[in-house]
Amino acid sequence: MTKRKTAKTMLVSLMLVLSLAVTACGSGNNEAAEPSATTAATDAAATTAPTTAPASEDGLYNIADFSNVKTNQGEALEGGTLNYGLVSDTPFEGTLNFNFYSGNPDSKVLEWFDEGLLTWDKDYVYTNDGAATYEVSEDGRTFTFTIRDNVNWHDGKPVTAEDWLFAHEVIGNPAYDGPRYGSDFTNIEGMEAYHDGTAKTISGIKVLNEKQLEITYIKSTPSLLTGSIWTYPLAKHIFGAMDVAKISASPEVRQKPIGFGPFKVESIVPGESVVYVKNEDYWRGAPKLDKVVLKVVPPTTVVQELKAGNIDLVDSFPIDQFPDNSGLSNVEYLGAVDRAYTYVGFKLGKWDAAKSVVAPDPNAKMGNVALRKAMWQAVDNDAVGKNFYHGLRWNATTLIPPSHPEFHDDSNPGMPYDPEAAKKTLEDAGFKMNGEFRTNPDGTPLTINFISMTGSDIAEPLAQYYVQSWKAIGLNVTLEMVEFNTFYDRVGSNGEDDPSVDVYQGAWTVGIDVDPQGLYGRDAIYNFPRYANEESDRLMAEGVSEEAFDVEKRKEIYKEWQALMVEEIPVFPTLYRAALVPVNNRVLNYAIGDGTGIYLNELAVSADKGIAAK
């Protein structure tokens, strides 16, 4: 179930974190983080009571006990240098422009010196607090954006509507070599014609004046407000004269990257470290810190670096190292619910490559919903979370994780663990015991093939637990552990599903928009169960229709969809996850997660050096 660490790294590196995408990930551990500590630090911050992680009973933790906002200790110093650890096994790629990057590490480097023109709140809806504001027309298709007057590039030139248009033109250019061009862009009027070369300009985008841009989308959907707008301008005065295919390799992207964020890049050692200095001209106000030093830290040594105080902050922390280090005296752990879930999927059909739709097979081995239901009833995911993850992963109930509190249906209990009920479900559906195992209702033997990903130490024991749980209700399940690439090959990431796979355990990182069509839509290749249902289609379509602009209505729709999935069980969610990030006690004004209203320019430190663990 757990994806291997390496595979994870690879996956993450390919994941477009900011593209709001739904992304596959192994159910593995998110490895990342470093401790830091040095000597010294006898100031106020060091003498205040150390903040430790929330107390645990029986070694169990609960994400509800963690805050996502750092408790400030001591007074902010004027200036100071903050050390940031980018936790990764590999160097960052160095494509340092939001319009071109593809690896997660690069996005972490980018966040310090560049940002999107729009910000979003805790429900991931665009706000008017960012570098630009927006207005939507009556029909919900035309957006008018106004960039604030004091938003300037690091070289002093203003960020203009022209730059924003230019970003769209570059991404829409057929020579563009980044991964951004997709449905978000084809939903702009005239974009496809521009991409094909039949139009010289994008008819849907108009520059109204230096600071105002108007974009008309083909289809109005609530998803537009939760991440479907491309908000990263591209400095035309720098890249305008370049050949589009050569921009991503240019020194202006790799060595001297430019943005309009709170810090400027001072120097880069490719793949290893970046030094930033404050951008006095930042539109939200000059940052409190003088400098930020970013350094790549491997997950194996991150705890040591944190302990020594060499590193104040990390982008992510390997959660399996948390229980042993929960008591570090010099850091506070911030926690948030991860936008991800682990699940067990059932193969219910094939991929029809010619038509690009799923082709459910009514006679599939796993086609009987009673069988799927019994398999869900038979597994105790609450115990899995406690025993394997110290409570930092916990029983999942629906296919919209609680990281989306607006849409996650708390009242839906999912499927309670009840092996007796599972047996009864099977019995009633005609799966009778014949010797050690049950047979199909027609009396033929039933052997279920289950595949799961290798990776972390607990990947196999965990998969074995599921197999045993299913054996306990009389199902003959054979387990095969496979490596990440092979796993997704066989599950059908290329549309060529391996017919020998009946059940698989995977995981998804979900986008900031809740729309599940990319994973469960009829035409989604990532709909690995190959499941389709008219009712589900209808609900998912309604979820992105115009009437869903009404949040209450949209909640209603997705509540219904979650209930339908619990009834139909093309897949069942197993675990939700926590993300933890340790922060040195000297750090002030920091928070993880979205919509906290705390921005990087306010980040400060209360001591000259990172505080070391006692």
Partner: protein
Amino acid sequence: MWKIIVRRLLIMIPQVFLLSILVFLMAKAMPGDALTGMLDPNIDPAAIEAMRERLGLNDPWHIQYWNWISNAVQGDLGQSFNFKMPVTELIGQRMMNTLWLSLATLILTYLIAIPLGILSGRFNDTWGDRLITGYTYIGFAAPLFIVALVMLWMFGFYFSWFPTGGSVSPGAVPGSFSYVLDKIYHLLLPALSIALITTVGTVQYLRNEIIDTKQKDFILTARAKGASESRVYNRHILRNSLLPIAAFFGYELTGLIGGTIFVESIFSYPGMGQLFLGSIVIRDFTVVTAIVLLYGIATIIGSLLSDIILSIVDPRIRIK
């Protein structure tokens, strides 16, 4: 002599060719490719297919191989999918780091091996010798990556004597003297970790050679002539005992390659080894094949170098 070298170089050509085919086929046999990890509903599967087509990943292997090898012969090893830059440029960046690391390791290896070997051989079967041989046995038994981790923890974190990662401090300005010092400071600990392990073989060779040589007749003669003990050891024994060490030099270079792969990962030192492991994980084939090929060539050259050195220093085994 020259004939031999030329002949060996000629033999290298089919060797490298065969190696390149093997490397290429093995890379292709790995499940998945650089695009497999792009499981992202926001990216149109058709766009990914188009990218595969553009990268030639759908062609039969011999066509892919031909495209690759014909470019490689002209010095173009392709484009890294992950880093979006030419492989030659990418490897060039990393190779310098690895070269410096290897050089430092080599120097440290001999700095440790020669005194220890001499002491151990000259005073064999004393407590000092037992201590040294004891160390060599531990060295043989201890896996490099464990030693490296322990070194990192002890000298990097516990005593904070050395930096704990990277090849240079953030913000150092290339070209200055302090920049060079900073680089040396960064590679000292990883180099020492490898040297402590790789040196044990050399210590043992040297020890055995010295013990062997000091029982030879000509040593007896030298002593009989009244040569001082230090002259006997420094002039007569040591010179003869260094032969196999010199011959071993080429293989030592080859062995370093294996060592740097692990150590670079542990110390997050951005050299070729780290790039190699990372590229395998994300299936960046162009980089993987290029690096394996380079490693292969380095190995072949290393053994050639050994043979040449051997034939220079020891006329007895000169091949005609």
